[in-house]
Subunit: 239 residues, 2 copies
DNA sequence: AAGTGGTCTAGACCACTTC
DNA sequence: AAGTGGTCTAGACCACTTC
């Protein structure tokens, strides 16, 4: 076993064991070098592993932080491995298409307990509840059901929903979006969803359940998006 | 722009431009150090990028090789980014479940032209065609439609299909499976598939189209698998 | 100014493949 | 034995954040 693996495994154990609690800061790379008696690059590589596994986030100039992590599903399903994926960019158009939104709900509520748990909220705390249909060049591409804690993303206005919430978060609020944990499924649309997406009831949808994290490890978004037909989800697996 | 990015971009250009052709070997790390005037770790990091992007595979002791890459879909779909995913382990049981297979077809044919293209085959070359239903503890978890070139995976027998083809490839043939490129969609089952999976016609399936690569960059498998209900596809995206 | 993580070097040593 | 990629070091320097 390589040194970086030894360090990574030890740190994983200490995170799941609670020595390093959710949202807490890890020792700096220099301190970890001393603690494990290895060089900085070895620590770096070990922390790369933790980041890939979705356990921590890192901020240059600030430090590394333990993520508040998704509750594990108890489905005996996915016998293929959990996975790691790069390329998070919200849902900006990257092909010059014109992206619009139709807002079907925008309210502040106490989220269901499973959503609250994903977001690290108490059950009596408030979150925005947003239902949007996203269109590219007038064609419906997705329905998004989103919850965001009001104290993590303050002062969200309806106007922002027609543009990009992510730009509001990164631009106006000066926060940094770091990563997302996703689960993909196939589902059938409801009657309402057929209406919103202009599809028939026999067209399946690709559902993506997602928890988004800021760069300090705080979950800022729980969302379920459902995509018709033309949507594909691509990935490259290695090793 | 960091040095490793400069190197990575240059190499990407030379791969897509044909200077380094599919299945050819890249210069060694030492040679690349000299060519770019940078240290070995910088070259390593640049090549990590290429590997993540699915462009090359690397073999300790042998060298780095350009992959024969998936033809790009011309769908204007997935406006989220293409992605990178770790954790390829065939479909072994990792939870102690008993995995079985029902073989519905096992023949040798000339594959359709799009499949041949993915596998880097001429249209008049032969491939195995396999249809299997995979069961875990007696419960149907997937249908797999698989093509494998007979000259890449020689002497495949029906007996192997009831166990793990991957174990045959890695164990008996001594080849090494390196990576897979995947596309995920939601689809409806055919009548035949409902029968095989013991589901009704209104249950959507998660479809995973996949090209598998050996560690020398050779595509060895084109497969489409379709999963009912209980299957989930997980990923963690970063940055 | 002090502290953080990120990049980079030059070189050592190792694991593995090929001949 | 020679060549490949992978790990690791000790230290320099940089970009960025926090105070």
């Amino acid at each position: 076993m390589m040194k970086y693996e030894t360090v990574a495994n030890d740190l994983k154990g200490k995170i799941s064991g609670g020595t390093y609690a959710a949202n807490s800061q890890l020792p700096s790379m220099g301190e970890l070098c001393d603690m494990y008696g290895v060089s900085k690059i070895t620590i770096k590589k070990a922390m790369d592993e933790l980041e890939q596994a979705g356990l921590i986030t890192r901020r240059r100039g600030s430090g590394s932080f333990v993520k508040k992590v998704i509750p594990q599903s108890n489905k005996l399903s996915n016998y293929e491995l959990s996975s790691q994926m790069m390329g998070f960019c919200g849902e900006h158009s990257n092909t010059g298409e014109k992206v619009e939104s139709v807002v079907h709900d925008f309210s502040v509520i106490c989220p269901p307990s499973d959503v609250a748990e994903c977001l690290g909220m108490d059950e009596d705390q408030f979150a925005y509840h947003i239902i949007r249909v996203r269109l590219a060049d007038g064609k419906p591409l997705a329905i998004e059901y989103t919850y965001m804690p009001i104290d993590v993303i303050p002062d969200l206005r309806k106007k922002t929903l027609y543009a990009s919430i992510y730009e509001y978060i990164e631009g106006d609020l000066g926060l940094k979006i770091d990563s997302a944990h996703r689960i993909v499924r196939a589902v059938m649309p409801t009657a309402e969803e057929c209406d919103w997406l202009s599809i028939t009831e026999d067209e399946p949808l690709l559902e993506i359940e997602q928890v988004g994290y800021l760069d300090d490890g705080t979950p800022f978004e729980y969302s379920v998006s459902k995509h018709p037909d033309s949507y594909e989800f691509r990935s490259i697996s290695s090793k």
